[in-house]
Symmetry: C2
Subunit: 214 residues, 2 copies
């Protein structure tokens, strides 16, 4: 297909497609003249993937590039997913107390996780931020979250396709990122549902005291 058709099918403007080509995120098409090229389904699929990661995942272009490099890299499944998770993990150090809280949780739940996993670090950073604003996370809360995480991860891991390794890697990386907004939106909808029951019907809002701050 021509550039114009590729743009229409993917929903990505022509100028943006050209930008992705220049940046090397999208492989070049097959030249048909000095100024034209044709593109195939692999270009369309890749373009949809870039768009989804950048728009829904709200990932910066460098992070998108890191993930695409991992998907194309031909490494092991663990290496690829690890590289993607590292690209996605939040920055900043965590305290020894937060690291210890993560270790304690993983031991209690008997979860097998690599000692240097970036996911451990992501959890420690999350603990630390909650601690800094004075949120104490008690074990019963943590267990409810861990139960929920295990529920969704079970489905995630079971639905990884086994027909081809490349397909499997792409599924895991994209699924990790694109299912995150889904899970977060469902959590907020569930909160809205439950708090409308607890706080009364819409239209009978609970008044709050005026802030004494500022």
């Amino acid at each position: 297909m021509q550039m114009r058709e590729l743009s229409r099918a993917s929903g990505v403007p022509v100028a943006t497609v050209k930008y992705y080509l220049r940046e090397g995120l999208l492989p070049a098409g097959t030249p048909t003249s000095a100024t034209r090229a044709t593109y195939d389904d692999s270009h369309l699929q890749r373009l949809r993937l870039i768009r989804a990661l950048a728009e829904v995942g709200q990932l910066r272009l460098e992070t998108v590039r890191t993930i695409l490099t991992a998907v194309d890299g031909g490494g092991t499944l663990h290496e690829t997913v690890g590289a993607a998770h590292t690209a996605l993990a939040p920055l900043g150090p965590a305290s020894p107390q937060a690291d210890e809280a993560v270790d304690r949780l993983l031991r209690r739940r008997r979860w097998r996780v690599h000692q240097d996993s970036s996911n451990r670090h992501a959890l420690a950073v999350a603990f630390e931020a909650l601690d800094k604003v004075g949120f104490e996370v008690v074990d019963t809360t943590l267990d409810a979250y861990a139960d929920a995480a295990l529920t969704v991860a079970t489905v995630d891991v079971e639905t990884v396709p086994t027909d081809s390794a490349e397909h499997a890697v792409e599924h895991v990386v994209v699924g990790t990122v694109l299912f995150e907004p889904l899970l977060l939106a469902l959590r907020r909808l569930a909160q809205e549902h439950l708090s409308s029951r607890r706080l009364g019907r819409p239209g009978r809002p609970v008044r709050t005291a005026r802030s004494t701050r500022g």
Copy 2:
């Protein structure tokens, strides 16, 4: 306390504290001379909140401002949480098919959610992104995610403090944002745990075929 002490206690550099003061995110201190002021615990608490939202929530400063305005605004609980969720909701339109899929899910689960809720839209955008990269989300997957969301939302809503309305609002807004990285980190840890069981021990990685792309 002095500026220097405020900086040390919050972990926010002095230059950044001054920036937040200039931007009006942090209320001014009590002047003690032409060039000095003192700050109290409310400044420290607010500074920790800003830091947590900006660093862990990875929110842009304008979004942080919107949330702080909502917390300070003295509106109803529903208004405040709604304003925060709107500030956090992803941009971009969703297709009528995606909106219909959201309606179908909410009817099936009997969740009471406002027709104009930004959370509905967030879910529709997430559906659309998955659809664009060819991920079909079957009902059993969706139900596992909805069950998990309900599990965590139940704890979220139950732990809202009732001692003061301002405290309650702050808890809901901050809890929504700061527990998201916690939930996502736990999901990735659970995936790592389960896939290490499914794919074998670390150190015996599963080789993938080289990519044929690019």
